[in-house]
């Protein structure tokens, strides 16, 4: 398709232009309106009593002393919530044989992880609620803790009804694996460990639930990416008509996938507001975030690769055991990451013999679920480390072995070794661009020189494939009420300005900005005359919102098609007023112009004035439609895959095990780039999250299932000093499934950063007999690999 001009030399051409974000000015002045900031009349505050044990049976709960504390307004336990909230089960129908126990806001009889909420205190202030929480006595009989996934697989089921501790398992076999391995000249095998980490959004989770019994109406001010999903959840689980549930997501202090899952605390707070008829606010503090936000990753992967003497990959076999929480998260489950790990393995490469096993296992830790780049960093790191291992064995350069194996740019459309359908990828173009922007040959020379002086520099590269623009194949076919379509209302105001409300949401990535660019571009108006609003289920059409890199590709296409519809309506009214043919007219710089001569005929403001206030002057029977509603659901390919390549330069100190990250490069192909400035900053932010996972971030648990580093002083996140400058380049391969041609970009940086870093560290250590196959690559692990400790 791609039927629009897209050139930057015409007026109002905003698609492809770096423009700053209108809504960022408010944030720069400290005028952001986060849920954390919200105060409502008669609002109460929530605090939770949490389980100190990872597994146990509740014997008794004594709330008398807490209830007597002045300022405490209510105390709720599991029974109170069970009476008004239907349990939820985190399974998807298309994941066959998947199972998970039902969940409720507050535990009824058993506690399943350390930090699980047991009692909710509602008080006049958070401080009083916390004081009261300390006065609650909970007696718990502790049970054996499952804190290791391999042990969990054969242990007694922690939930009696489940039969065993396996949530989900999946086997893929594309055929030919045994033959490939029998024939291969080289066999490589490696085991990898990917630690648990978590999103650590700077604004923690927050909700103000406000239930009005007189109208049976719930308004939830909820820091989430997905207000429509929560409208559905609150409606169904608390039995309130959907139209009476309004979810408002104002400014959000970061999400990265973490704030789109159902959490026990938010459900309990909604329940409390229903029971009390007053607004109730809950903001997780940082310690609570660490023990209740979803964690991600936690995979143990064994991989085998069959390679010929010529360096060609002929087969791959993978086994992934991933440990989730005591149940699967809702409504997106905890199995999607593992599913994507085994389906994204080997994705850039041209071979077909592939076999994989996935086991998703319950354990007594907080739930895991989707966080930025779901599964990609694991599949990418395993694949790319195996390819590098093959290159080392055969004495091939990392660029050379990849060039010999990647799927050629002229061979699309085609399928991946695991059955994904690729419309068009650009590995060859990205790999050669990466080599040139890295100035690779010079880096290698410099590395050799420094090595003579005992300085261990390492250069690592990684190719990746990313899933974006998901169709209903992601969740809809599995029975989840999560939309793959989006909707927009675009309207001309009586003054001739433009207002767009759309279902994709903003968490700082620039959603509102790019939607404004597309609307202005397609209508032919100045960008500062377009107002975009998002994040309110009452004022925007129902849609999927923002996740899985769908904002630009699906939300953008929705805005494009809606704008064209409005433009046609505007031109038809203008044609009536001007007694011209609509086809002879266009809109440019907020004016109706004559296409042939470019002459300004009538301002948009005048069209709007006549349509809204002087409809009597229009021909009889004319009904001006200057507000349009439009929905768009992706069709064609089930996903729009993107691809790219990353490079990492590090220096390892063999004495201390410390790694200095010197530089990082990314070549990325996300199709049509709507705003290069925002795209580059998405990539940079994503890379840094990937580098955090590679070097610092890990949720550490002891044998008792206690998180031992659950604070921002103990859990290391990447800070400015440790992070490198990141150079970015683009290849643009448009998707033909939409007119806009855009794919997603939000997760590309995270997808391959840790793989490139791992290869760089291993390159630095080459010749020292050390290979790192576990992230984060902490100084201790590096020294251990070197045999120093």
């Amino acid at each position: 398709m791609n039927a629009f001009a897209g050139s930057l030399d015409r007026p109002n051409s905003y698609i492809g232009r770096s423009v700053s974000r209108p809504n960022a000015k408010r944030l720069l002045e400290g005028k952001g309106r986060y849920v954390t900031d919200l105060v409502l009349p008669r609002m109460l505050h929530a605090a939770f009593v949490r389980s100190p044990y990872a597994h146990g049976r509740i014997v008794s709960i004594d709330t008398a002393e807490a209830a007597a504390l002045p300022g405490v307004r209510a105390i709720f336990t599991g029974k109170d919530m069970a009476a008004i909230c239907k349990p939820w089960v985190g399974t998807l129908d298309h994941f066959r044989n998947m199972k998970s126990p039902p969940q409720l806001p507050l535990s009824l009889d058993k506690v399943m992880w350390s930090g699980q909420p047991i009692v909710l205190i509602v008080a006049d202030s958070r401080a009083i609620a916390e004081d009261a929480a300390e006065l609650v006595g909970v007696e718990i009989e502790d049970l054996p803790v499952l804190a290791d996934p391999v042990e969990a697989m054969s242990a007694e089921p922690m939930s009696e009804d489940m039969g065993d501790n396996t949530c989900f398992s999946l086997a893929l076999d594309n055929g030919g694996v045994d033959e490939a391995f029998a024939k291969a000249q080289h066999l490589l095998e490696e085991s990898f460990v990917f630690g648990r980490h978590t999103a650590v959004t700077l604004e923690p989770r927050a909700i103000v639930a406000d239930y009005d019994a007189s109208e049976n109406r719930l308004t939830a001010h909820h820091a989430t990416q997905t207000p429509y999903q929560f409208q559905d959840v609150y409606s169904r689980h608390f039995d309130i008509p959907e139209a009476n549930v309004r979810v408002i997501a104002p400014d959000i202090g970061g999400s990265f996938g973490m704030k789109l899952h159902v959490y026990h605390e938010e459900m309990a707070v909604v329940g409390a507001s229903i029971l009390l008829g007053r607004p109730v606010k809950y903001v997780a503090d940082r310690m609570e975030s660490f023990v209740s936000d979803i964690h991600a990753r936690d995979h143990r992967v064994t991989a085998r690769l069959a390679v010929g003497e010529d360096g060609r990959i002929s087969g791959m076999e993978v086994d992934d055991v991933t440990a989730i929480g005591p149940f699967s998260s809702y409504p997106r489950t905890s199995a999607v990451e593992g599913n994507q790990v085994i389906r994204l393995m080997g994705a850039p490469y041209d071979f077909s013999a592939y076999r994989a096993n996935l086991s998703v296992v319950f354990q007594n830790k907080v739930q895991t679920s989707q966080y930025r780049a779901v599964g990609h960093p694991i599949a990418c790191a395993v694949t790319e480390c195996m390819v590098d291992a093959a290159a080392r064995k055969l004495g091939l350069d990392p660029f050379e072995i990849r060039a010999r194996n990647l799927i050629p740019d002229d061979s699309y459309p085609r399928k991946s070794p695991t059955g994904y359908q690729f419309e068009k990828l650009s590995h060859e173009a990205c790999l050669s661009r990466l080599k040139s922007i890295m100035n690779y040959d010079a880096l290698r020379r410099e590395q050799a020189e420094l090595r003579k002086k005992g300085v261990l520099r390492g250069i690592g590269i990684a190719l990746f494939v990313e899933i974006t623009n998901p169709s209903p194949a992601f969740y809809g076919i599995g029975g989840a009420r999560i939309s793959a379509q989006d909707g927009a209302i675009v309207k001309l105001t009586p003054s001739g300005e433009v207002h767009c409300s759309i279902s994709v949401t903003e968490q700082g990535q620039g959603t509102e900005t790019i939607i404004g660019q597309i609307v202005a571009d397609q209508l032919g108006v100045n960008r500062d005359r377009v107002r975009v609003m998002t994040g309110d289920t009452d004022t925007t059409p129902h849609g999927g919102a923002t996740w899985a890199c769908r904002g630009a590709g699906i939300g953008g296409e929705t805005a494009l098609q809606a704008s064209r519809k409005l433009k046609a309506n505007v031109l038809s009214i203008a044609a009536l007023i001007l007694q011209a043919q609509a086809g002879e007219l266009d809109i440019r710089d907020d004016w109706i112009i004559d296409v042939a001569t470019g002459q300004q005929r009538l301002s948009l403001a005048e069209v709007a004035r006549i349509a809204f206030f002087r409809s009597d002057t229009l021909p009889a029977g004319t009904q001006a439609q200057l507000s349009v509603v439009h929905h768009y659901a992706p069709q064609g390919y089930p996903f729009a895959f993107t691809n790219g390549a990353q490079g990492s330069l590090v220096e390892v100190d063999p004495e201390t095990g410390f790694v200095k990250i010197l530089k990082h490069w990314v070549v990325e192909d996300c199709g049509r780039i709507i705003n290069p400035l925002l795209v580059d900053e998405q990539i940079r932010g994503g890379v840094v999250q990937g580098l955090g996972a590679a070097f610092f971030e890990e949720c550490l648990y002891n044998r008792e299932g206690q998180l031992t580093n659950g604070s921002l002083a103990d859990y290391l996140v990447p800070m400015a000093y440790e992070m490198p400058d990141i150079e970015i380049s683009h290849v643009e391969t448009l998707t033909g499934d939409t007119e806009l041609g855009a794919k997603g970009v939000g997760e590309a940086g995270t997808a391959a950063a840790s793989a490139a870093a791992m290869n760089a560290v291993n390159d630095a250590l080459a010749g020292h007999g050390a290979v790192l196959t576990q992230i984060p690559m902490t100084p201790a692990r590096i020294l251990k690999a070197l045999g120093s400790i």
């Binding site: 960022a24 720069l28 400290g30 999103a199 202090g253 940082r286 940079r684 921002l712």
Partner: protein, 165 residues
Amino acid sequence: MTGKIAISLTVNGEEIEAHVTPRVTLADFLRQDVQLTGTHTGCEMGACGACLVLIDDRPVHACLMFAVQADGCVVDTVEGLTARKAIADLQRTFHERNALQCGFCTPGMLVSAYGILAAGGVPEREEIRDALSGNYCRCTGYEAIVDAIELTAKQRHQQAAREEA
């Protein structure tokens, strides 16, 4: 614990008299009592920098200080710095360079940047990165923030040189 103590302080140029409980942090006092919600709390233990404000013109963690300790102090928050245009150039370069995404770290970053630039001169990128090591940003990857502070430093330096000439 609940007995209130009288304090008086200057916040963003305004004299404020208040009665606060001793355990209330300056961050909570500013956010809840004075309704200056531009100052954020991200960790409440001095690790993330979201709560940085100026006390007597120096960046201080408002989460690590009790409101009673600010008695007699001059406090400036992002709102006050904005109103008196003390960081207008920084805000402009942050905006143009897209040196923020969700914006939750931004007030603290701006207060840190105010402190860095107050030293005068044009710091090296490495020095800026070092000086930002108490400010956590999950969104940007920091590079744009370093760019914006570096550019503002250069602009101020040029401006000062022009004025001298």
